[in-house]
Each structure stands twice: as C-alpha cells, then as structure tokens.
C-alpha cells in the first residue's frame, strides 16, 4: 500500500511538466522544490535530533557560492605575491564540490557548536550564518560582494558530440530538482530508521539517558549536521545554477525562517512534514500576491501563521492529520477502510 502510494505520488509529480504549460508556475514549483530540499535537511536536525539550527541558510548559501565559484573559476590573493587561481570546472563537479563544502562547514560547526545546547546553540548557529554573510559581503575579491556572481553556467551533462542533457529549460530543471528531492528523502528516511537515526531520536528525547546507555551524543549530532548541511548545500547549488546569479542576500535570515516555518507547520518529527509545509509556504506567497497583498503584508501573515501554528498545532499538520485519522478509525470501527484506496491494495 505504501509502495503503491509513493509510486502514485512520484508519478503524479513527474507528470506535472506534461500538463502544466505555464513556465511561471513551473518556476514556482522549482523554487518550492529547492526550498523543500532545504527544509527536509533542516528537519533532520530540528525534528530528529531536536536541535534548532537558525543558521541553516549558511549551508544553503555556502553550497550556492562554492558551486557557482568553481563553475566560474576564481583568483584569490592568499598573500601579496601568492595567487590561488582556479580555472572553471564542469557544473556537475562544481555542484558536488558545493555539496562537499557545505558538508565540511557543517562538520566544523557541529564540532564546535554542540558544546552548548538550547538557546545557546541557536545563538551560535545564527552568529555563524551572520559571519558567513559578512564574509560574502566583504571578501569582494572572491565573492564580488554585493555586485554578485553573474552568468553562472547552467548544468549540462554528457558531451556535445554524443548526447547532451542541458538543464537550462524549466521542465528539465523540474525533473532535476524532483529527482534530487527524492534522493534526499530516501537518504533521510534510511538514516532515521537506521541505528544512527534511533540514536538521534533517543538523544532528542532524553540526552542524559541516551548518554548513560553509551550513545556518543556529539558524534551523532555531528553526523546529523554534516548530512543536513550537505543536503542544504545541494539545494543551494541547485538554486545557484537555476537562477544563475548569487549575491550575499542569499544568506538573509528570512530564508532560514522560511525553512523553519515549513518544517514546523508541516510537522517537525515526520518525514512528510517538510514536504507538506514546503508546498504550503512555497505556494502561499503566490496566492497572497494574486490577492494583491504587499510583500510586507505577506511576511506579517507568515509571522502570524507561525504563531498560530505553534499555539494551535504544536506538532504540525501531518501528525495532527494522523491523529485525526486514527481517532476516526477508533470511533467508527464498522465503516472499514475508505473505498477510494489505491486499486490492488490490500484492505
């Protein structure tokens, strides 16, 4: 049944470019998909290890910058006479490098930041993101500062002579984002149901207890941070080669907040939560724009929704729906399973 469901969902998602002809709508779906990947990566930390990282956009931005820089090539004066120059590399390699760079920075942050917990960890993670932001603004030689990195090449696979796959057009990019998202989902799902994942959940529920039964808490927290950061880096790299311009605004705190809202609204301890939350908050700005609401008003609405969700659905939408379904089943045992279940599925 679950397998049928996932095949149906993936099939539906894959069919979207066939019947959605509006490039504008496809664009929204692509950016939403990129944000869903970032939100899923945040959920690994926030939902499964219980650490609220408010510097998550740093990994997204590092992935974007690292990938964009390597694909463009760069020159940096390490000292006055020693210049480090890197020639442009193929985009797929750059994207891998962006992922790696983000994972590495996740390792560094995890190693140092998990000496503290709770509010202090939150503040360290915000500080980290702000420092990275200020470096992106000020290290003009490398990042071009506020002038931004322009003309970032799009992803191309294969060789022009034989078979070349170009991800310049929107339907192609949609499939790229969709398949990346599926891969990330599967990785997270396997991770959280593995031994390491159970250790993460154990330390979320009761850290001293987890420690007392021999779980190396810091190790698992760092592991979660590295995986999470690398995934955020993939999302950043996908973003960089899609919009093809990267400036320091990519580190805006508001993007972290958007990811947090997606995760918390959808349900932070579930696999599907970030996806549900991501779809809602990816499409909501468009809906609000259609209602001719100013961008400031849109953010006010976001803030208020965040407050309401925390008050009314502290667990998020997905767990609330599950509870509702379970309680309905319990109260009416005679109705049986819904008729519109997937054909061929066992009752």
């Amino acid at each position: 049944m679950t397998r049928w469901k996932s095949v149906l969902i993936i099939g539906f998602l894959a069919s979207i470019p066939l019947w959605v002809t509006s490039f504008y709508f496809l664009h929204i779906l692509i950016t939403t998909g990129i944000f869903i990947i970032a939100a899923m990566s945040l959920n690994l930390l926030l939902g499964f290890t219980g650490q609220l990282s408010l510097g998550h956009v740093a990994f997204f931005g590092i992935g974007a910058y690292a990938s964009a820089l390597l694909s463009l090539g760069f020159e940096v004066h390490v000292t006055n006479d020693f210049v480090l120059g890197v020639a442009p590399k193929p985009v797929w390699l750059s994207m891998l490098f962006g992922t790696f760079a983000a994972g590495l920075s996740g390792f560094a942050l995890g190693k140092i930041a998990f000496k503290v917990r709770g509010a202090y960890f939150v503040i360290v993670s915000i500080s980290f993101a702000e420092v990275v932001h200020l470096v992106a603004v000020n290290w003009v030689e490398l990042t071009q500062g506020p002038m931004a990195l322009n003309n970032i090449p799009p992803l191309k696979l294969g060789t022009p002579q034989l078979l070349e796959l170009s991800f310049l057009r929107k339907p192609a990019y949609f499939y790229l984002v969709l398949s990346t998202a599926i891969v990330c989902y599967v990785i997270i799902r396997r991770l959280v149901s593995s031994h390491a994942g159970r250790a993460m959940i154990a330390l979320r529920e009761n850290e001293p207890l987890a420690m007392s039964i021999g779980i190396d808490v810091t190790r698992y927290l760092v592991l979660a941070t590295v995986v999470s950061a690398a995934m955020a880096g993939v999302a950043g790299a996908l973003y960089a080669h899609y919009v093809r311009i990267v400036d320091p605004d990519i580190f805006l705190f508001i993007y972290t907040v958007t990811m947090v809202i997606m995760v918390v609204t959808g349900g932070k301890r579930t696999l599907a939560g970030p996806i549900v939350g991501g779809i809602i908050f990816g499409l909501l700005p468009e809906l609000l724009r259609a209602l001719a609401i100013k961008p400031e008003m849109q953010w006010i609405v976001f803030g208020v929704i965040m407050i309401f969700v925390v008050f009314l659905l502290p667990q998020g939408i997905v767990p609330a729906l599950e509870d509702w379904r379970n309680s309905r089943k319990r109260h009416s045992p005679n109705t049986g399973p819904p008729v519109q279940a997937a054909p061929g599925a066992p009752p």
Binding site: L52, V257, G303, I307
Partner: protein, 290 residues
C-alpha cells in the same frame, strides 16, 4: 596614539548604548528564560516613535524621548500579555518560534507603516563637536551616553534596592520557591518584559537621532544585544554592562585597525568564542547551561 584615544572615546560612547540594550535583554533572558527575538524590534519601535513624535508631530525632543520609552514599555507589556503568558509552561523552542514569528510580524509592520526609506530625526544639540585637545565628540553622543548611564543606574537601583527588584531576583533564582513565598510570578514576568522592552525602546529613541531610522535597524541591535548578554553571562546586569563596553571596544579597534566592513562581525565572533571557551560568560559566578 591620538587615533587610539579617539577610538577609546568612541567605544566609551557606543558602549553605553550596547550596555543599555544588553541589560534589557539579559533581564528578560535571565528571569523569564525567554530568548527575546523581538528585542531589536522594540529598539526600532522606539526610534520610529521618536521619528513620529519629533518629525511628524513636532513634539519637544526630550518629551518625545520619554514618551517613546513609555510606549515601548506598553508594547512590551502587550507582547508579554498576549503571547508569552500563554506559553509559560512550554519549552524554550516553542517560545523561540513564537518570538521569531512576532519579530517578523513587527518588523514588516514597521516597514508597512513607515516604508523602507531611511528617515532622519532632527536633534536640538549644537552641530559643532566638543573638542578636547585632539579628540572630539559630538554633543548628541555625549547626551546619549549620559542618558544611557542614567537608565542603567536606575535599573540597577530598581533590581537591587527595591521590593520589586527583590521579587525579580527571587524569581530569577528559583521560580517555584519565589511563587511559594508569595511572589506573583505572572506580574513579575510582565514587569520584567515591559522593563526590558522599555530599555530597548529608549536605546532606539536615543540612537535614532544619531543615525537614521530604518525598519531593519533592529536586527543588528538585537545581534549586538545578544553578544552583550552572552559576554556578560545570562541574567548578569553588571556583566551585561561591562560586556557592552567590551563589545564596543572590540568593534572600534576592529574598525580602526582591521577593516570597517567587519565591524558587525565582531559581535558574532565574540559570541562564538565566548560560548566555546567560557560558555557561562566572562563574569559568571555560577550559572548552568542546559
């Protein structure tokens, strides 16, 4: 040498404001265990009230300063009453999320109300600076410094010498026992949050006329306030005051001798370093970090 002394003088002037921002936040952090992300918005609110009163309505500068502070106190009390009171038994992550929501809503409300254009506020001080040998400092900065020190001293007096302050300190040490002794915790929380917010609004009202007023001005102020609180140790008034001056000094030296682009990075770097090597703050007696 002159340049160094000038940097020290600037740091002293700036430190007063950082300390003022810091003690408001450290009170809230220490007594209520709330990471107050709206602190910067209260700062911006104070500055905008100053702008509205002085530039739009033509109220006297000093009256407007007092009024902006009072309005900040009122807004703080309202936030506590509407949001935080309902969340007193929830865990710290939930409270943080609500405060982030409130921060976004407040900041964008400011942008909606006053537009994103930077506004300036006229001040009644002479434009010529005070010159002491080769050092100089503007009248406005001196006024800001003096008022900030007065407010900090008044807060000290309130916390350490009054009955209300005793109740606040008792709540800080042990909430349950304080409640058993007849301290009305709810009221202490409202008073603390209103007081902290009022101090932030006062800081904004003081600095608004020095710089310009923009909707996002609160973000940096909040970041600096957090740096000051962490430098000084949570809930430590003296620590926050000294932390304010240390941060200002580090920034001025950084600007003077490293690069002005990284001025705002100083606070964040200090936060990271302090939390890594001395997570209880520079001046902590005993404080646990959970």
């Amino acid at each position: 040498m002159d340049q160094f002394l000038q940097h020290c003088l600037n740091a002293l002037m700036l430190g007063g404001i950082y300390a003022l921002l810091g003690i408001g936040l450290t009170l809230i952090f220490g007594i209520m265990r709330v990471v107050n992300f709206t602190h910067g918005e209260l700062y911006a609110f104070g500055a905008y009230m100053m702008y509205a009163l002085v530039t739009r309505l033509g109220v006297d500068f000093f009256v407007a300063l007092a009024l902006a502070t009072v309005l900040g106190v009122a807004l703080g009390a309202a936030i506590e009453f509407v949001l935080l009171r309902q969340l007193r038994s929830s865990d710290i992550d939930v409270t943080m999320l609500v405060m982030i929501g409130a921060w976004i809503a407040l900041q964008n409300a400011e942008q909606l109300a006053w537009t994103g254009v930077a506004q300036s506020i006229a001040n009644p001080f002479p434009a010529d600076p005070i010159v002491l040998g080769r050092l100089s400092v503007s009248w406005n900065r001196v006024f800001v410094f003096v008022v900030a020190i007065m407010l900090i001293t008044a807060t000290y007096f309130l916390v350490n010498r009054t009955r209300l302050g005793m109740a606040m300190r008792a709540t800080f040490q042990d909430r349950e026992t304080a409640a058993l002794m007849g301290v009305r915790i709810e009221r202490i929380h409202t008073v603390t949050f209103a007081l902290g917010s009022g101090l932030a609004a006062a800081a904004g009202a003081l600095l608004g006329p020095v710089f310009v007023v923009t909707p996002t001005m609160g973000d940096l102020a909040a970041a600096k306030a957090f740096a000051v609180v962490i430098l000084g140790g949570m809930g430590n008034l003296l620590g926050a005051t000294l932390g304010g001056f240390i941060l200002a000094f580090a920034e001025e030296i950084g600007v003077g001798y490293i690069s002005s682009g990284y001025r705002d990075a100083m606070g964040f770097l200090l936060i990271i370093l302090i939390l890594l090597f001395r997570p209880t703050g520079l001046f902590a007696r005993k404080e646990r970090i959970s």
